[in-house]
Structures are given as C-alpha cells and as structure tokens.
Amino acid sequence: MTGIAPPIRPPAQRLRPTVARERAPQAYALLADCRLCAHDCGVNRLAGKTGLCHAGTAARFFSAQTEVSDELELIPTFAIALSGCDLRCDFCITGASSWNVRAGGSLDAVTMAALARTALRNGARTIMVLGGEPTIHLPAALELVSFLPSTAKLIWKTNAHGSASARDLLDGLFDVWVADFKFGNDDCARRLARVSDYTRIVGENLLWANTHSRLIVRHLLMPGHTDCCWRPIAEWLAAHLPGVKVNLRAGFWPAWQAQRHTEFRSPLETSEEDRAFRWARELDLNLIA
C-alpha cells in the first residue's frame, strides 16, 4: 500500500447526484439489519429498534454553517453536522449533540441543499458532511448528496468506524475523506470511547479511503496520551500511509465528560505538543494545517 495519492477514478461528476439517488434507497433498506458502522448491531431500525448510536430512520442536524476551522485547503466550508454518533468519546467537543440523535432540527435534503448552494455562491469552496458521525445516517446523507450540485467539492468527515457496506455505498461520491484517528491502542479507545477493536477498524477504513478518495487523517493530541496514542498512530501512518496528509491538532479542550478522566483535568503540556510534532517530523509525516 502506498500513501502517495493515487489517481482518483474518472470523476463522473455529472453522475454523482444520480448515483447518490440510486444508492439512497439501498442504504435505507440496510437499516432493517443495520450494520452501517463497525459495531455491527444488526438491529432493525425500520421497525423502531435502535443500536448503540440510538439512531432511527430520520436524520437531524445540529449545525449547518460556513466555517474556517478545518484544513486550509478545504475552507471556507459549508459544514453540515448531523446529530448522533456511534462512538462515545467522553471528551467530544460537541458531545451534547453528537451523543443525542434527537438534537437539532429535522434534516430536509432539499432545504439543506439550498442552503449549501447559497453558501457556495457566497464563497464557500467545499461542502462538508459530518456529525456526530454521518455514517449512521447514510440514507439521509446520500439523499442530501443527490440534491447537491454535481460540481461541488464534497467532504466526508468521519470517525473512520464505518463498515464495508457503508463504504461501498459511499464509493466515488465524496472528493475528500477527512478521517479521525483518535486512539493509538484499543485500551484507550475502550476506556475513552467505549469502542472495541478500534485500531484495526480505523486502519481498514483509512487504507480504503486512501485508495478511493483523497484522504486527510486527523489526530487530536490528548493530554497524557502522546506516548500511548499519538506515537503508535504516527508510526502506523509512516508505515502504511506514507505521504498521506496528516493534520495534527493541539487544541484539546476539556469538553463534555472529559473531567471523568484524571488526565484530562490538565491541559496538554507544551512539552507533549513539542514531542508529538518532533516525532511527526522524524517519521517524515506530511503535516498540514
């Protein structure tokens, strides 16, 4: 596997809304035995059952606005944040909305697409679909894409905990995947986000995304987790995705339920941040801002 961005298959931009429109019902049908994320619950969301994410059939959004917080090459982006997530990161900066599928307003694809088109006319360069975690709302996300301009640059911002079936339905629809690699080992993932087999699943998603789209990997440095989380992630990226764009973020904010963990009661030490960036340089990671 090479980390050098491979040539993306012919964009077929004119077809993207059509493809998304065709796939949306397929995604909806998968809710009968939901395995969109790697929790692999298998619940029948169409019958009102819910899995770990608590998502039903309808998607809601808690934010839709033009932002400049993301990677410089993507901004300004019109960011559409869908409510609910399949992970339970105690330090989630938008925890109240990301953990609550009922947060925010009902997502109407036509209305949201109109907002996105206005944002593009006003200078937004991209449209970003995020969460929470958008994968759990794949049918709604695909419907939204079906109404977005075929020429718009679309970003899929994900926790990289999706399943192979979700990836198949997303294939070719988003120009860039921005994927989090949060934890460098499964123990920290289990303790901080209540997720198992994390590193294998994220690795699988990142390798796939790198060959099916442009990929940017994000890691948020967490106080006390530079050695146990960032170091192994950096080494994995250097070994498996050399050259991939990496956004190493140092703005940890003790949000949501972060205080439950003693290491998050203190800010990220400058020495930790310096060490993290030094390792990144030593491993020749392709850091971007």
């Binding site: 606005q65 932002e67 307003g105 109407d108 800010p267």
Partner: protein
Amino acid sequence: MSIRTAKKLRKNTLRKRTAVSEILIRADGRIFAHNITPAMARVLSGLDPSNEAMSRRAATIF
C-alpha cells in the same frame, strides 16, 4: 400542506438558524475555539495578530 405553506415553513426554519462558534479562554491566557466562522476568525486574529494560522483563516474571502 400547500406548496406555499411548505415554502413559508422552510423559510422560517432557515431564519431561526444562526451561526455558532464557541471559544474557551484558559487561565493561562490561551484561547481555544471551534466551529470558527469567518467572522469569528477575524475576531480571533485581531486578538492575536501574530497567530499566522488564524490570520490565514481570517483572510478567507467570504
């Protein structure tokens, strides 16, 4: 629901939504922000003109 009513409803829904950014100023003076809008980027850049990354975000034409 008539088309007219639906359009009115949609318009009202859009009006109700306003952009939101959040900032955290720590005791050591460091400022953290997320969901930064272009307007907020300009404010943050004004607070610390030496922050090159924020200056670049603030310079985004919008």
